[in-house]
Subunit: 240 residues, 2 copies
């Protein structure tokens, strides 16, 4: 199994760094090939825009979708996008390791989604969700939070964690065809003691040992909705 | 009324640019002072990290929260953060104008949230939601989407738009104390004809004329939850 870890934290000795190292070590020991996109170390540019293409079709008005589509066809996408897309194609399994900032990913990782998972590469008008271009590959979010688990209860202040992650897990990863595994969440690590942190690392190690047999989240897709966008009879959103 | 428009789109002649111009013109005509943070034109750095501070306390290990807190106390935050924070303090009303990418903001705007709305400036451990440091100010999301309204129905493929925006509207803006107005959404503008686009601009103009009297979204806050993170009896999440 080829694994790509997309890792977004500014400090190598952080708990996020430790989580990334655990994944690298366990998977390597279990015979995976592992590559890491260390976005901070790479000084990855997260800003989708004119720098996404080497040559512009229209030098006056910049239309992101059409310029990138043309550059994708011509092989003139920016080198940093191409390098990441090659890693994604190589990988069977993608791990996204990041601290939750404002209930989402750090901007440097948001930009990875904005730029790398572009139309034509990761999906098209007719290839999305079940038929997305990355179908057959698997992915997992591995997250650290500042807040504790209780805040994310279904009736909690921050709402249900599954809801907070829906735009990432369903709206982004699953959109491209990826099978999404239940997330690994290390809760409230900022103020946690060493024992708690060690327990999270142990829990992650254990999950990674059996990761190849973990079922993915049974998300619905476009085929479950009618032409007016409503759930078809008999299709129900599965509670996790 | 002092208004700050935080605008995130790479192309000035885009529909997002037109929405930004409408807001600038209407509010200026109505006697507002208006400033614009044009994040793309500013080449705003969205990556929270060591560049957030001018001097580091710990030059070996970078801890984002403590380094920024110390720099905030010492007045040694990065100039670009200070400039944005000054605009936020100046403003009574904040407009965020952006295209929805992956059911969220473009990375350049996510980084504005990550860096500008930092602990100590926008909130603290005891100042959040109703008591957040930006309380008394108002904010609105003005969004363009690629997908149509139906997809975002409560039972739609993308789920309810209120849910998709909860992390931004409640988890980010309201967290800092801002009163959040119902969002302006221009649906499916990518493929829309000129008449449809013009109608969205008209709708936005009309809303802006009466924006000072629009009630904010009645979000719940920490006082509505018990110590175990659960809703107190009699407190119910208000349907919009």
């Amino acid at each position: 199994v080829n694994t790509l870890i997309v890792y977004a934290h500014p400090e190598p000795t952080s708990f996020n760094g430790a989580m990334k190292d655990v994944a690298f070590n366990v998977l390597t020991q279990n015979g995976h090939q592992v590559r890491v996109s260390d976005l901070y170390a790479m000084d990855f540019n997260p800003v989708a825009g004119p720098r996404d293409v080497q040559r512009r079709v229209d030098t006056k008005r910049f239309d992101l979708l059409s310029e990138r589509a043309e550059a994708f066809r011509q092989g003139t996408l920016a080198d940093d996008i191409v390098a990441e897309q090659e890693k994604v194609l190589w990988a069977d399994f993608l791990i996204f390791q990041f601290p939750m900032w404002w209930w989402s990913v750090p901007a440097i990782l948001k930009g990875w989604f904005d730029r790398v998972l572009m139309s034509g590469f990761a999906y098209s008008d007719s290839e999305w969700y079940d038929t997305g271009k990355l179908k057959g590959k698997r992915a997992i979010l591995s997250i650290t939070t500042g807040a504790g688990r209780r805040r994310f209860a279904p009736q909690g202040l921050y709402g249900d964690m599954d809801e907070r992650l829906y735009s990432l897990q369903h709206g982004t990863l699953r959109y491209t065809g990826l099978d999404v595994l239940p997330p690994m969440i290390a809760w409230a690590v900022e103020g946690a003691d060493e024992a708690t942190r060690a327990a999270f690392l142990d829990q992650y190690r254990e999950r990674l040992h059996t990761i190849d047999s973990v079922p993915s989240i049974p998300f619905l897709g476009p085929a479950d909705y009618d032409d007016r966008g409503r759930l078809k009879p008999g299709r129900a959103i599965v509670e996790l």
